[in-house]
């Protein structure tokens, strides 16, 4: 019995099939598990283990290395405020403090209503609009306390549902197309190209030798 919803299970299987080795799908599958559950539940971890040919302990051990994976439940919106050097110079620490008071939760904690989890992040690579704020890993570009508060009201009222979808970095990443040729065909193509290239190299060497003999 799959813990994943049918659509997520299907996407998971498609992802596994993309890689030469199934374990390579680990990080994308963990993103999918978070998309469904909001965090990495025991059931989600077990399913990822089965899909990648690993054990739940191995999956948990891998996931714990990465900041974006939550091993405990988090709020509907994960708010990240950057305080790294470019944002620090622009008031990132002050904005983080303000965010904590607006959202009513400490850094690293979740608000009582379960809506918000606040995180202090490292550089998010958007330093021309510092301090940088992401919600569910979407740039919201609110650099002042006033615009931050307005953004939070918009979130509460559901006005940002399109811009800030649920967790899961891959929620709108849909692969279409792909390589529909057999491994044998590819091998034949490569062999042909290599033979042609070897012939070119030999011809060039022969021409060079002839030039030298003249």
């Amino acid at each position: 019995m799959s813990h994943f919803r049918a659509d997520i299970r299907q996407r998971a299987e498609e992802l596994v099939a993309l890689y030469p080795r199934q374990r390579s799908a680990m990080l994308p599958l963990l993103h999918l598990a978070q998309e469904q559950d909001g965090y990495l539940s025991d059931e989600g971890i077990a399913e990822v283990a089965a899909l990648t040919g690993t054990t739940p302990a191995d999956v948990r051990g891998t996931a714990s290395f990465y900041d974006m994976f939550h091993l405990e439940p988090v709020g509907r919106y994960v708010v990240g405020v950057c305080t790294n050097v470019a944002c620090l110079l622009a008031g990132g620490e002050e904005l983080l403090e303000h965010a904590s008071s607006t959202l009513g939760c400490a850094v690293g904690a979740t608000s009582d209503d379960g809506l918000f989890t606040l995180e202090e992040t490292e550089c998010l690579a958007d330093c021309n609009l510092a301090p940088c704020v992401q919600v569910n890993h979407r740039y919201v570009r609110t650099t002042t306390p006033a615009t931050f508060d307005a953004m939070v009201s918009d979130l509460r009222e559901g006005r940002l549902d399109h811009d800030v979808p649920r967790h899961g970095t891959l929620i709108r990443v849909k692969r279409q197309g792909g390589l529909r040729v057999s491994k044998d065909d590819i091998a034949a193509e490569r062999a042909e190209a290599l033979a042609a290239r070897t012939a070119r190299a030999e011809a060039a060497a022969a021409a060079a030798a002839a030039q030298e003999n003249k």
Partner: protein, 434 residues
């Protein structure tokens, strides 16, 4: 005066609306270079990139052509594109993946053809949710167009590209760590030697790893020739480069500039670029190439933006990000935050980095927040010396990867340049700026 005449090579669609869509890309010359490349022999495509003398744009600045030629002796299995951009204050790849994903994809296909690789991966940091969507859409479009997949544009070359999300770990920008993440493991950098994934890479097979910006240069190089690219810049630094300017300037942003022809003064102060500092402020210091780089002061403002030019003065152009600090900013606080970053992002394999980064961070914390002691200043240098013996540049290494030896850069710079500021923190019992 800034020199702004060079062509825009990777940011030519900067002012084009919807520059990420296939139609706009085709209207502006997209996929012409790929068609041309497919009419050339693969080794001729590689030779063109060699002629361009394109230095890798990720941070280490290794010649891309040489990375490729190391493989030409044995067939290469995989091409992996490094889009894990996480060096603090670096945001050029962010621009490229969100605003010009097709250019990246076309570059990857050209590189794969030159290397005769049939499987490529584009690794993007997980925080680029929109970038992941745009690159996947570009791949979908390319498959539909016939520019990707089976028998590309009717040629005898087939290629599959998979976009792979990271999950929030700075260290995955280190290429062997990135490969571990791509294999579904914790992002631990691999022990060297072998130094190059070209020898032992993904799944132990020969692999080329190139940066997003490096790949994005390829369509222009094929369209205009490697010599035209090499004619720009000077010395080893050819072509143009994206510079990410952040911190205390009026107009922070990403600017494409010809290598060497402009100086730090140009990019920081030119009205068309950084626009200078806020009214009444003066420059205190700047970081020339990501937080792993030793700092520069006002005396180095006229240094040209070139790899060897910056290297000769004991720092690096690195990831192309410049952080400006004005006279109102607290260098102790900035240094504390940078060491906190390294402490948090250390993968934990090597003792000097794992323990050293934490010790340095705690000492920096007490200096900034009260409780610092005068002897802390020498203690900091002693700790730094244990991580990178001699505190030279390029640094000596006691660790598996270069994250460790990057930690002392800011501490050593700040202490050498602004020792009085540290002493003032000790005497004041915390930050005098607060």
């Amino acid at each position: 005066m800034a020199s702004l005449d060079a062509p825009r090579i990777v940011s030519s669609r900067r002012d084009v609306a919807d520059s990420f869509t296939l139609n706009r890309y085709l209207e502006t010359g997209g996929y012409v270079a790929l068609r041309r490349a497919l009419t050339m022999f693969p080794e001729a495509v590689a030779a063109e990139v060699d002629k361009a003398s394109l230095l890798g744009r990720g941070g280490a600045g290794f010649p891309a052509g040489r990375k490729w030629s190391m493989l030409r002796r044995s067939p290469i299995s995989y091409l992996v594109v490094n889009g894990d951009e996480s060096e603090p204050a670096t945001f050029k790849d962010h621009y490229l993946v969100e605003r010009d994903p097709h250019q990246l994809v076309e570059g990857v296909i050209i590189a794969a053809y030159a290397l005769q690789v049939t499987q490529a991966f584009i690794f993007l940091r997980g925080e680029f949710a929109l970038g992941l969507e745009r690159v996947q859409q570009a791949l979908n479009d390319a498959y539909a167009l016939g520019a990707l997949g089976s028998k590309i544009f009717g040629s005898n070359f087939s290629l599959d590209i998979v976009v792979h999300p990271g999950a929030g770990a700075y260290i995955c920008g280190e290429e062997t760590s990135l490969l571990e993440a791509l294999e579904g493991k914790r992002g631990f950098p691999r022990i060297k030697p072998p130094f190059f994934p070209a020898v032992t890479g993904l799944y132990g097979e020969p692999t080329v790893v190139n940066n997003v910006e490096t790949m994005s240069n390829l369509p222009w190089i094929i369209n205009n020739g490697g010599e035209a690219f090499a004619a720009l810049g000077a010395g080893r630094s050819t072509g143009t480069r994206l510079f990410a300017l952040a911190g205390d300037v009026k107009n922070p942003g990403v600017f494409e500039l010809e290598m060497v022809k402009n100086s730090f003064r140009d990019i920081i102060f030119d009205p068309a670029l950084g626009g200078g500092l806020a009214e009444g402020r003066t420059l205190k210091a700047f970081i020339p190439g990501g937080v792993s780089a030793p700092w520069f002061g006002p005396d180095q403002l006229d240094t040209p933006l070139g790899q060897d030019e910056v290297g000769a003065l004991g720092s690096m152009l690195g990831s192309g990000s410049i952080v400006v600090m004005d006279d109102a900013s607290c260098v102790v606080r900035a240094t504390w935050r940078i060491t906190k970053f390294f402490s948090r992002e250390s993968c934990g394999q090597c003792t000097p980095c794992r323990e050293g980064s934490g010790w340095i961070e705690r000492i920096m914390y007490r200096l900034e927040h009260g409780g610092g002691r005068l002897e802390d200043l020498d203690l900091l240098l002693d700790l730094c010396d244990n991580i990178a013996p001699g505190l030279s540049w390029p640094p000596q290494q006691t660790t598996i990867c270069v994250l460790g030896p990057s930690i002392p850069s800011s501490v050593h710079s700040a202490l050498s340049m602004f020792r009085d500021d540290f002493v003032a923190h000790v005497n004041h019992g915390g930050c005098p700026h607060d």
